[in-house]
């Protein structure tokens, strides 16, 4: 509204500039000429005058009686030592408040001055409310939530789960179009391209972003597919990152079935997500680096393992060989004495055997002597010795009977020391019994 247009709204004669002059004149006369206003007219005029003359202003003071109505509008009073002003914050603006300010908290309010016509109250329509100092109200909201989570033990260090060393699948809860996902995919693609990445797309800022981020984390955890979740967002102002300071995100991280890495792009401040996450990374890229191992590191591990395997096998072979050598050594040492022992044993054995053989021979010889004696006794020579003689015919045939001696037969008589030539001249039989 222009200045001229505003001035036109004032009733005729009601121009304030004339006030001083009229006051010195005849009051009665002057008063009689004045227009009569209704409260509505007055308040409306006041409202328009105030609204046009102030525009947007910052007002600082202490907050008292902050109330959030069921409609979503917020009502409170700003005051200093001597004065106070009523304030209203309509629902759309109030929804952006990270938290309600504490009673007595010093704040800065950006708004416009107006008059609530129904009551004639002057009031400040606040569009932005900040705690004193940068991020004051954000800080307050942060501290309130932090204290609550801490009292539940959710920030405890013992709660932190280890990030898997060699994940097969990494879940990423972030905006599908932001710098964060580009950075993360680039890092994983470079370091660990065998890793599968599952993105759960979500808005990361704006109204309702916290609920979306929370749902993205939750669904990744519930999918059963991922070994670790990265909750990521690129850099931004405190307001931009606010979703990561809200309770739904914190709860989703705490309840997630797998470890969660917070990777919100802000180096300085810590978010609630950082506090409850199993690992805090300062940037999305750092989050990705923390989530996956470097292929070079794995190659080194594999090389080392291969070397150790070979060494282990060689060791096993060497151990075998050593024990074999040991056995051979013992055998070698054992052999000579074994041979000696055997030789001695053999010698003892052969002597014994020799003696036995000799004994046998002796016995046989003795028996032989006896037999020889017997044989001597039976020998025909012995008979010849005793005086018998044997008549032998031609060809050495023994002549035994009378019939063998025809008269005139010449025969040889064998006696003990030679032969006697004889001639048969008659024979006579004798009876058998006398023979």
């Amino acid at each position: 509204m222009s200045e001229t247009r505003n001035l036109d709204l004032f009733p005729p004669g009601g121009v304030p500039e004339n006030g001083e002059d009229t006051g010195r004149g005849d009051p009665t006369a002057e008063s009689a000429q004045l227009e009569v206003w209704t409260p509505s007219q007055l308040n409306r005029a006041l409202r328009l005058m105030l609204e046009s003359s102030f525009g947007s202003i910052w007002v600082t003071g202490e907050v008292t009686n902050f109330k959030r109505a069921r409609s979503g509008h917020c009502y409170f009073t700003l005051r200093d030592d001597e004065a106070q002003v009523r304030c209203v914050m309509f629902r759309a603006d109030a929804a952006a408040l990270p938290t309600d300010p504490d009673e007595g908290m010093t704040v800065r309010a950006l708004g416009s001055v107006t008059v609530y016509e129904a009551r004639g109250d002057c009031q400040l329509v606040v569009r932005t409310l900040e705690g004193e100092g940068a991020e004051g109200l954000w800080r307050l909201a942060f501290e309130k939530l932090r204290a609550r989570l801490e009292s539940e033990g959710l920030l405890a260090h013992e709660r932190k789960r280890a990030i898997p060393e060699f994940p097969s699948c990494v879940g990423v809860a972030t905006s599908p179009t932001g710098a964060a996902i580009r950075d993360i995919l680039s890092v994983i693609g470079r370091r660990a391209p065998w890793v599968r990445v599952i993105v759960s797309a979500t808005r990361v800022q704006g109204e309702g972003a916290a609920l979306e981020v929370a749902e993205a984390i939750r669904s990744l955890g519930a999918s059963g597919l991922v070994d670790v979740v990265i909750a990521a967002r690129g850099g931004g102002s405190v307001e931009d990152l606010w979703a990561f300071n809200e309770e739904p995100v914190a709860r989703a991280i705490v309840e997630c079935a797998v470890p969660v890495i917070s990777a919100v792009g802000h180096e300085v401040d810590v978010t609630i997500a950082d506090l409850v996450a199993d690992l805090r990374a300062p940037t999305p890229s750092a989050g990705a680096e923390a989530a996956v191992p470097d292929s070079e590191a794995i190659t080194a591990i594999l090389d080392a393992a291969a070397a150790r395997l070979a060494r282990g096998l060689r060791g096993a072979v060497r151990g075998r060989r050593a024990s074999l050598e040991g056995q051979r050594g013992r055998l070698a040492r054992a052999l000579p004495s074994l041979v000696t022992t055997r030789r001695d044993a053999l010698r003892a054995l052969s002597e014994r055997k020799l003696r036995a053989v000799q004994r046998t021979l002796e016995a046989r010889r003795a028996r032989l002597r006896v037999a020889a004696g017997t044989m001597t006794a039976l020998s025909p020579l012995a008979t010849l010795h005793r005086g018998y003689a044997v008549p032998l015919g031609t060809g050495g045939r023994v002549l035994r009977r009378m019939g063998d001696f025809p008269d005139g037969l010449e025969f040889s008589l064998r006696v003990v020391d030679g032969h006697v030539e004889c001639r048969a001249s008659g024979s006579a039989s004798i009876d058998e019994a006398g023979a």
């Binding site: 898997p164 060393e165 060699f166 994940p167 097969s168 879940g171 599908p176 179009t177 995919l185 994983i188 693609g189 660990a192 391209p193 065998w194 890793v195 599968r196 990445v197 599952i198 993105v199 759960s200 797309a201 993205a216 669904s219 990744l220 519930a222 999918s223 597919l225 292929s295 794995i298 190659t299 591990i301 594999l302 393992a305 291969a306 150790r308 395997l309 070979a310 060494r311 282990g312 096998l313 060791g315 096993a316 072979v317 151990g319 075998r320």
Partner: protein, 84 residues
């Protein structure tokens, strides 16, 4: 040795994850180094270990980043198909 059930000598399937392979490798190497197994078992362990190394190296060599988007808890599609 009586035990063949601890994995020794079992085939090393191609679909084992890198994590499983590296874990088993560590186990095998430790067994070889500490337990001083007999030769036959040492050979079996060595063979299995070398298999894990080879498979892991193959996995590293031929890997290409696979990115999918989670639509619901069970539904996936290749990432990047959606327009902004």
């Amino acid at each position: 040795m009586t035990d063949k059930t601890d994995g020794t000598g079992t085939a090393s399937p191609d679909d084992l994850t890198l994590e499983v392979r590296l874990g088993r490798l560590e186990e095998i190497v430790r067994m070889l180094e500490v337990e001083e197994p007999d030769l036959e078992r040492a050979l079996a362990l060595f063979e299995e270990g070398v298999g894990h190394v080879r498979h892991a190296e193959e996995l590293l060599a031929k890997a290409e980043l696979r990115v999918e988007e989670l639509l619901s808890e069970k539904e996936l599609r290749p990432f990047g198909e959606v327009t902004e």
